[in-house]
Amino acid sequence: MADYRNIIYEIKDNIGWVTLNRPEKLNAINDDMLFELDNMFELAEQDLDVKVLVIKGAGKAFSVGQDLSGAGTDEILPPSPRRKLPSKTSLEAARRRNRRWEYIFNLCKPTIAQVHGHCLGAGLYLALACDLTIASDDAVFGDPSLRMGILPEFPLLAWLVGVKRTSAMLLCGKQFTAREAEESGMINMAVPKGKLQAEVTNMAKGISLLHSDALAVAKDSINAAMEARGVGPAWQFTNDVSLLMQQRTRRPGEFNFENARDKLGLNAAIEARDKPFPELD
């Protein structure tokens, strides 16, 4: 088995357990973690011993999303406007980012996200790209990308919860509790924190008893229905709009996350980013 530093991957009783393992950074996803996930998914997809994958986070949270430190994040984040890259290069990068979520969504094995604590940005994308999302009642779902002028690159959300809730999260910055996420159809189930592991294990065990071919075919037909409703073209459309958003010229006085980070440090920059926004419940 590959030697990973940012994730833990174990196989037990036909279940592949994947743990995002940067607990000191609340499992912020940097390029190294992303490439390890790429490698793991590729191995798991071909591994006949793995019938279902469970993805969870070590420590306090599932994942707070993209690592915003700017170090080792060229792949997970849209290119910095400072780099002034050719459009083609930025578009290719946007395609790669989106194809990654699409690939996980369409993986030929069932996937379960086991979510606790914060589940934001790319962490949210990962959790929702899984076939099933089970969360403990302390989970919080959100995506502050627009506050940094980054397009939330995950069209699937609108299909899961409808446009009004999508705008509440992405445009207004509302964070959804586990209960709200369950009621809106964003996730399958919210369970008490103490029961999360048992609930997910039980569900994974049930899936692992089914024939792997049947699982692959059933998943494909479910996703074909989503494809027929336009999810496929939406990924591509998202690439284009994401690129446009990156090429936008910032107006004078507009909050600039990169400048704030360089001046104040990462945590203070995140605080400065979120401070003007009222909390919405």
Binding site: L146, R147, V161, G162, L171, S184, R248, R251
Partner: protein, 310 residues
């Protein structure tokens, strides 16, 4: 907005109907236009004695107000609400035959193509609200029915009271389910609500179904709408506009554009309904017993049998 190249660039890629409605030199008679904060504009439908029913004057003033807020470089978020007992009771059915707001009067007898053009323009006004480049919040209390509900549903955010009532009363069986418009709704809910054509629903049901954003107590409504407006107003205007283009572009992939077209055609086909003697016909009833007579008769008809379950 000014581009620095000596020409004016509209954020819309195609001309919207509100751009044709001039606000300069206009005095609003049926609505109130207020600048609440540098980035927040509030538009109040102010025809409370008619429950903010939309006649041509009110609708045109609304479009002019949208135009005015668009041209205000500081404005980023609009709040739309109604004064008096409710948000709005839809088209003003007492409007004279020449007006566009209510259904086309049969005496006008236009050609099919003219009819389609009229319907397209009527419905297009609503569609242009959806594609408005700035964020809009509908602050809803009381009845939000028919065309008023259509306006609310075009807004990015709907904050409503628990007592708010959403639905389409229609005239006789000529109901078009705007609340049942599937493109706006997640898949699992449109099957449920779509089966309830012509029903009206309360604020709590509407939020459960994902049709509106949030439901609050009546006394909290104004403060809550302002809070949500302030949240969006923190974002640069361009970011809001591009986000909306992205979301609505995806809705077009799902088929929203086709749904709009089908809506024009449905309006049109309903103009050709042949009423059975036992059915309530707006124009016949209006002629025979006046608008109140029609409303009374409609109240007992099949289309309004389902009441709001708030």
């Amino acid at each position: 907005m000014p581009t620095g190249f000596g020409w004016t660039f509209k954020t819309q890629y195609q001309k919207s109907q509100w751009e044709d409605m001039e606000y300069r030199g206009r005095e609003y008679g049926l609505l109130i236009y207020e600048k609440l904060e540098p980035h927040i504009v509030r538009i109040t439908f102010n025809r409370p004695e008619r429950r903010n029913a939309l006649n041509d004057q009110l609708y045109n003033e609304f479009l002019a107000a949208l135009h005015q807020a668009n041209d205000d470089p500081q404005a980023r978020v609009l709040i739309v609400r109604g004064s008096g007992p409710c948000f709005g009771s839809g088209h003003d059915l007492s409007s004279p035959p020449g007006e566009e707001s209510p259904p086309i009067h049969p005496s006008l007898n236009p050609t099919l193509v003219d009819y389609y053009g009229i319907e397209r323009r009527r419905c297009g006004k609503q569609e242009d609200i959806l594609h408005y480049p700035k964020a809009i919040i509908a602050q809803v209390h009381g009845y939000c029915i028919g065309a008023s509900e259509m306006i609310a549903s075009m807004c990015d955010v709907i904050i409503a009271t628990e007592e708010a009532t959403f639905g389409v009363k229609g005239f006789s069986r000529m109901t078009l389910g705007v609340t049942n418009w599937p493109c706006f709704w997640p898949a699992e809910s449109n099957k449920f609500w779509g089966g309830q054509l012509s029903s009206v629903i309360g604020g709590k049901q509407a939020v459960e179904a994902g049709f509106i954003t949030k439901v609050v107590k009546a006394e909290e409504l104004e403060a809550e709408a302002l809070k949500w407006a302030r949240a969006m107003a923190q974002l640069p205007a361009e970011v809001i506009a591009m986000y909306k283009e992205w979301l609505h572009g995806m809705m077009d992939i799902v088929g929203l554009g086709a749904a709009h077209r089908s809506h024009y055609a449905d309006h049109l086909s309903l103009q050709y309904v042949r009423f059975r003697p036992d059915e309530v016909n707006l124009y016949k009833e209006k002629k025979d017993s006046g608008l109140k007579g029609f409303l009374k008769k409609r109240e007992g008809s099949a289309s309004t049998a389902t009441k709001a379950k708030s």
